[in-house]
């Protein structure tokens, strides 16, 4: 039996990112093709082929390899929404000092109350925002697989997000970092755009497949 080369080990590590049941059926074949297409002196997987394999594994995990283009676009927008939400969280953490200073400057007679209010806001954001990131990723994953539940959840999620954003905009703007508000608005726009795509006529048949077919897709 041939000894495994460093290149093959590298390819196996990358192929391990694919879903298990897809690997069971295809990994040996993919490894064979990767080794056949490698240059004779290649010792490690190249950057482009590594990214290609990781992108393929991501599409498989999200169920995107079998979804129509409108659903694929919606899922991509949802993933970007998760990134935007993460940006909101980072912005809140980075700018909390300046927001606290702005609140104190605005309410000089209520320094303690203003500081406390900002503190509560930041604590709330630190709890809620990671949950929102996970919620975005869950609806993306579910929609990629054609789950009706995830589709309805995405619509409800986008509606609630619209309501919360309107309420936030009506709040005292001194207590909200402009960058966080911009990132929130971007996340909202991404959510609304994603809903438009999952409601397009081309997307409907994908969600109307029998549960048996969706379960079969989930196996690969």
């Amino acid at each position: 039996m041939n000894e495994m080369t460093e290149l093959e080990r590298g390819y196996r590590r990358l192929v391990a990112f694919f879903p298990k049941s897809f690997r069971t059926e295809n990994s040996e074949e993919i490894i064979a093709v990767l080794l056949a297409t490698a240059s004779p002196d290649q010792r490690r997987p190249g950057l482009t082929e590594s990214l290609d394999l990781l992108a393929g594994a991501f599409r498989m995990h999200m169920g995107l390899s079998r979804a129509p283009r409108s659903v694929v676009t919606a899922v991509r927008l949802m993933c970007l929404g998760a990134v935007a939400e993460l940006a909101v969280l980072i912005t809140v953490l980075v700018t909390q000092g300046s927001i606290r200073a702005a609140a104190v400057a605005r309410y000089p007679h209520y320094t303690a109350a203003a500081t406390q209010a900002v503190g509560h806001d930041v604590t709330g954001d630190m709890v809620v925002l990671p949950i929102l990131v996970l919620a975005w990723l869950w609806v993306a994953w579910g929609n990629g697989r054609g789950s009706q539940l995830a589709r309805v959840a995405a619509i409800v999620f986008a509606s609630l997000y619209t309501l919360v954003l309107v309420l936030e905009l009506s709040e005292d703007v001194a207590l909200v970092a402009p960058a966080a508000m911009i990132a929130s608005s971007v996340a909202w726009a991404l959510g609304v755009a994603a809903v438009v795509f999952i409601l397009r006529p081309r997307s409907w048949p994908y969600y109307e497949r029998p549960a048996r077919d969706r379960a079969q897709d989930a196996l690969v």
């Binding site: 039996m1 041939n2 897809f22 295809n26 040996e28 074949e29 993919i30 490894i31 064979a32 093709v33 990767l34 080794l35 056949a36 297409t37 482009t48 082929e49 290609d52 394999l53 990781l54 992108a55 393929g56 594994a57 599409r59 498989m60 390899s65 079998r66 897709d217 690969v220």
Partner: protein, 109 residues
């Protein structure tokens, strides 16, 4: 239809091919312009098999490694023919408008 999907179906149009063979065929058909990578190829094959356009023809073991051959299904052949006709009609429409008779400002192409 994505270009990569069209190319994979075209590569299988005149007979079954294994993964490495498909990559070579696609490079040849496109004159080296499309370089399919393994991740793209196997994600596309997974979708094409799920859609019933491609199926596994046979499997072989060569140098202790699995070699699986894929073939076009009758439905895959019909879809490829329909897409090729559509592309041909579009190309013909574009070329006729670009010809000297179609657009005098362009002269001879």
């Amino acid at each position: 239809m994505h270009e990569a999907t069209f190319m994979i179906l075209t590569a299988l149009a005149d007979g079954s091919q294994h993964g490495y063979g498909i990559i070579g065929e696609v490079a040849e058909i496109s004159g080296g312009r499309v370089a399919l990578r393994a991740g793209t190829l196997y994600t596309a094959l997974d979708r094409l098999r799920a859609d019933g356009l491609v199926d596994v023809d046979r499997e072989e073991i060569v140098d202790n490694r699995l070699r699986r051959y894929y073939r076009l299904t009758p439905e895959g052949g019909q879809r490829l023919a329909a897409e090729a006709s559509r592309l041909q009609a579009n190309a013909q429409a574009a070329l006729s408008r670009l010809s000297p008779g179609g657009n005098p400002s362009l002269g001879v192409i």
